[in-house]
């Protein structure tokens, strides 16, 4: 039996893995973050040295105890309390309102951590506590694993940035953490990768909040690689031809989507990826690399909860089935040990 931790909405990949498990004859049970929010009746008991966990849906208890392996696919949108409208009837005290929301967020994280700790004895694929990497640390480790990496600078000083530009030419700025999308009513604001030439640098104030800059690498195409238990599944994304997606393929061009095709990595690159993922203690994840015009591969970043639908479908890699098979092997190994 495979336990899938997921979200209850907009998860075609979760559902396809469930179909693959069914076709392979392996039962599974899905637990969604929303089950903490009322989708299920919940009962955690810690008494006289025993702790037990129960989720009941339509009067039937979810068979968590039968799980032989856990797949951490997603969980819940933790800050949902923070982005909902005010919690106070009279919206007179925004600071109090925020304190309440922040506490609700931390409360639900504590309960989630309790659930995860109860499952610690099982083999996992992906894990919430290893689901967030530090971009700068990863860049450093990638270089140690033998990857070419773009020169990176975090600074508050315009002068430091100018010197950096003088040596590396046009630079890009991007979040130190994740690409963010700010909902603003009818419009959304995206913190995509953006280029800065010397003129744009001069227009900045002498000091600013710590910001991350990187040399802009002249790319022929991008590589997105889904790594799963030692195997690399690579896809090339041709975002260069289209000015809209040149700096960040996420800025989708709906009329003529970027070309996405299977890519065969060179063996040395695959070895580097395996070394790096082992160093980070990750069994799965998505890596973003760039292929430069003069044929060099440059490492950009890793997303530990790698999305594979985006690579699996255009390249027909059947990754949903591969994930299902890996989970079954883990459950089988778990039973033997």
């Amino acid at each position: 039996m495979i336990l899938i931790l997921s979200q209850s909405s907009m998860e075609p990949t979760t559902e396809e893995v469930m179909d693959c498990l069914e076709a392979l004859g392996e039962p599974c049970v899905r637990l969604n973050g929303e089950d903490l929010d009322g989708d299920a009746a919940l009962r955690f008991r810690v008494e006289a040295g025993t702790a037990d966990l129960a989720f009941e849906v339509d009067g039937v208890e979810l068979p968590l105890a039968e799980a032989g392996a856990v797949w951490f696919r997603r969980w819940l949108h933790e800050r949902r309390a923070e982005i909902s409208p005010s919690l106070l009837t009279a919206q007179d005290n925004p600071k109090l309102d925020y304190e309440l929301r922040r506490h609700l967020t931390l409360e639900s994280r504590k309960l989630s951590d309790f659930i995860f700790s109860r499952l610690a004895g099982l083999p996992w694929l992906s894990h919430p506590h290893r689901a967030s990497l530090n971009k700068l640390d990863t860049l450093n480790r990638a270089a140690q694993a033998g990857f070419a990496t773009p020169a990176t600078l975090v600074t508050t000083e315009r002068e430091a940035l100018r010197r950096f530009c003088e040596t590396h030419g046009t630079v890009i700025t991007k979040p130190a953490g994740e690409v963010e999308m700010f909902l603003d009513g009818e419009r959304s604001h995206f913190l995509f990768t953006t280029t800065l030439d010397l003129a744009a640098v001069d227009a900045l104030p002498a000091r600013f909040a710590p910001s991350l800059f990187q040399e802009m690498v002249d790319k022929a195409y991008e590589l997105r690689i889904f790594y799963l238990a030692g195997e690399c599944h690579a896809m090339a994304i041709f975002s260069q031809a289209d000015p809209q997606t040149q700096t960040d393929f996420r800025r989708y061009n709906r009329e003529r989507p970027n070309r996405m095709v299977p890519y065969r990595l060179r063996p040395p690159t695959e070895d580097r990826i395996r070394r790096l993922m082992a160093d980070l203690g990750l069994e799965t994840g998505s890596l973003d690399l760039l292929q430069t015009r003069d044929g060099r591969e440059v490492f950009l970043e890793i997303n530990p909860v790698g999305q594979f639908g985006m690579v699996s479908k255009p390249c027909n890699y059947g990754l949903e089935k591969k994930v299902a098979q890996l989970l079954m092997r883990k459950a089988a190994d778990g039973r033997r040990s």
Partner: protein
């Protein structure tokens, strides 16, 4: 036997007419951006996952 090379502006190689092409099927509106890519790209890192720190 080497193939004779025809010119592309020949009537034979012009696209089908719009009426002919109008797809009556599900595929009528090509889905260039499937729910997967939209959701996966942006929903890639939800907060819980991003926080990760378990102080």
């Amino acid at each position: 036997m080497k193939k004779r090379m025809e010119r592309l502006d020949d009537e034979l190689f012009q696209p089908l007419t719009a009426a002919q092409q109008r797809r009556i099927t599900a595929g009528s509106t090509p889905v260039t951006e499937t729910p997967i890519t939209l959701r996966e790209t942006f929903g890639e890192v939800d907060d819980y996952i991003r926080d990760g720190d378990n102080e």
